[in-house]
Symmetry: C2
Subunit: 393 residues, 2 copies
């Protein structure tokens, strides 16, 4: 049996936590499993490396930034391997290039193309726990690449797929995926299982437990994925391949890092051009609504200014008469399955918000999620109200 286990930066931040992660890996090994361990950079070390770079240049070259950032995981993996070896557990650490993680020839948010597993398999055969740096790979030229922040989840799932692992366990500081952020809704419930699509929506909407690309990859490769606590052996959420039958609400997610862009146009058919322009600058749009010359969409808050400038610069070509941005909003989403088929769901959600006196700016609904845009200041109250409606507390 082969297990891929992944530990995030906060689960490796102190010497005690590294010991703890090593002990968990050893436990799996003692159960007779082959163990591949994927690790992120420790605690805030990626931010510290970015700070070092920012002291030298304003906009670092992307190739060199990848060289710099990849040292974060390299530090983690060597410390974890040292810990294991000192406990008498055979272990070896491998960088992305040593683990054969081949990516596209681009930097900063490269995609994994394939994994050449020879070295990992050789180390597993000789009885070692293999500690692999997450977040990084190597391109066809032999240059170091990184696969985007939070990418260690994706590294773990990609390794699990390439190795044909029996399970991929993501260890975090929380013990699973909840129906809402427990900091916002006290009565939040932990899911024991959750469908890929629901997890994907919750991840995309900022549930913060799993990186959405990793869920996407797990779904497409059929990797059995679980979220577990690195601090307690109880709990956990298993991401199940099959969606549940009938309508079921999985959770309430609130994204406060969003901004609303509104634009007016005389012409028609400009929306595809707007979206293409944003996409070319790496700005993802969501909650797209267009009606009689009035278009609204949300973009990540930290890209709102870029998006606004981009659209204003191209206003003539796009036939836009005005564009404005509003960052004073929050996106509250209900995730589940069969949400539209069951008309009650949307009605209950809107009713719960109305009851709280919360004004809704716009709304989009699909089978697996319903999102509404509400005032930023009402975010917490909205989550509590909607959560109470569907989960009774």
């Amino acid at each position: 049996m082969l297990t891929v286990i992944k530990f995030g930066g906060s689960s490796l931040a102190t010497a005690e936590k590294i010991y703890n992660a090593a002990a968990i890996a050893w436990d799996h090994k003692k159960q007779g499993k082959d163990v591949v361990m994927v690790v992120s950079a420790r605690g805030k070390s990626t931010d510290e490396l970015l700070l070092q770079a920012s002291r030298i240049v304003r906009e670092p070259d992307t190739r060199e930034l990848d060289v710099l950032l990849s040292t974060g995981e390299q530090v983690s993996m060597s410390l974890v391997a040292m810990q294991l070896i000192s406990m008498g557990v055979p272990a070896v650490s491998l960088c992305g290039w040593q683990a054969g993680i081949l990516t596209e020839d681009k930097h900063n948010s490269s995609r994994i193309i394939s994994i050449h597993t020879e070295r990992i398999l050789e180390e597993l055969r000789s009885g070692r726990i293999v500690v692999v740096a997450g977040f990084q790979g190597v391109d066809s030229r032999g240059d170091i690449t990184t696969i985007g922040r939070g990418g260690s989840d994706t590294s773990a799932v990609a390794l699990a797929a390439a190795l044909g692992a029996d399970e991929c366990l993501i260890y975090t500081d929380v013990d699973g995926v909840y129906s809402a952020d427990p900091n916002m809704a006290e009565g939040a419930l932990r899911h024991t299982t959750l469908g890929y699509d629901q997890m994907l929506e919750m991840a995309s909407l900022g549930a913060g437990v799993l990186h959405n690309r990793s869920v996407e990859l797990a779904k497409s490769k059929g990797v059995k994925l679980s979220v577990l606590s690195s601090l307690s052996s109880s709990g956990g959420t298993e991401i199940a391949p099959q969606p549940m039958e009938g309508s079921r609400v999985s959770g309430v997610i609130c994204d406060k890092k969003t901004a609303l862009l509104e634009m007016f146009s005389q012409g028609i058919g400009d929306l595809p051009d707007v979206l293409q322009l944003l996409a070319q600058s790496g700005i993802g749009a969501d909650m797209i609504i267009s009606h009689t010359g009035r278009t609204g969409l949300t973009v990540p808050q930290n890209r709102a200014k870029d998006a606004l400038r981009l659209l204003l610069d191209n206003a003539d070509r796009l036939g836009l008469s005005s564009v404005c941005a509003d960052t004073n909003v929050a996106k509250l989403s209900l995730v589940g399955c069969g949400l539209c088929s069951d008309a009650c769901v949307a009605a209950r959600m809107l009713g719960a918000l109305k009851e709280q006196g919360i004004h809704i700016r716009s709304m989009v609904a699909a089978e697996i999620k319903i999102s509404v845009l509400i005032p930023y200041a009402d975010a917490e109250q909205g989550v509590r109200g909607v959560h109470r409606e569907f989960f009774g507390k």
Copy 2:
């Protein structure tokens, strides 16, 4: 024309110093040279990495320690390359494995076997400054190795030799090699040129400017080596292939990190066994004197306890009746050429020490150096006295 320039950790410790190093590289480039830049880990970062490891395990696995320590140079090289690129100078950074620096299959103080220069040459052809991580390489298995502390000098010389560079310039915080440590002897003079052998002796004795392995390699490969200041464009010391003619004193070096081991034996012929035993534990011996069953030798101070234990454990086999260690000593050496041929030199040295009232524990003399062991507390006074005798101030 191809130049290899090397910057040590203290020359890269701050953002300003990184800018300065990049500006020097650019200056060489503007003169129409191809430039390969070798960099060490910034400031105290190697010590900080060692500290991180020590918080986790007492004796880290050597393979994993190399993985950890190599991140220090990787951070440096990426920051330097970013700086150059932001100044509009095409540059690319390469880790040891990317630069083709192949070492032995051992860790911590591996030796460079060969350098596969294809990637470096390709980058130079495309007009880039190539920034290479010093101190590190890769073994035949694809594992990261390091070549011992201070090894970046050796990396630079090895690259200069492999690339057939026209010069290898070592930039440091001092502007050359002096006749004595200027902190000890105010009148210390800077050498404009110095023979390889004299530099080698001064480096081995702890002059601290160049790593002795790098000088050895430069001598054997005929690399033209210079020591220059990263802070001022004047000064510098060129290490010349030919020793000077006649007797000439190059400098006075004081090594305070030494210890004297004394042993007594009934038998004979035990000295080779003693030296072999020490060598097997990586303990280098110097100032070896043996006479009628009484043997004295010096070892690095931080290995004195290990050496003492080793000899005591093997006392019976080695025929030693007693062994003792004295760390309260300093090794004062005069380096030059033709020192023994010119009997005056030794006499003048001993006379200068006698004048200061300094007691000499033991002495060994060779053509290129004369070393005496004096009380630790007399080190500075000894350096000043001997320096004044030979350099007049």
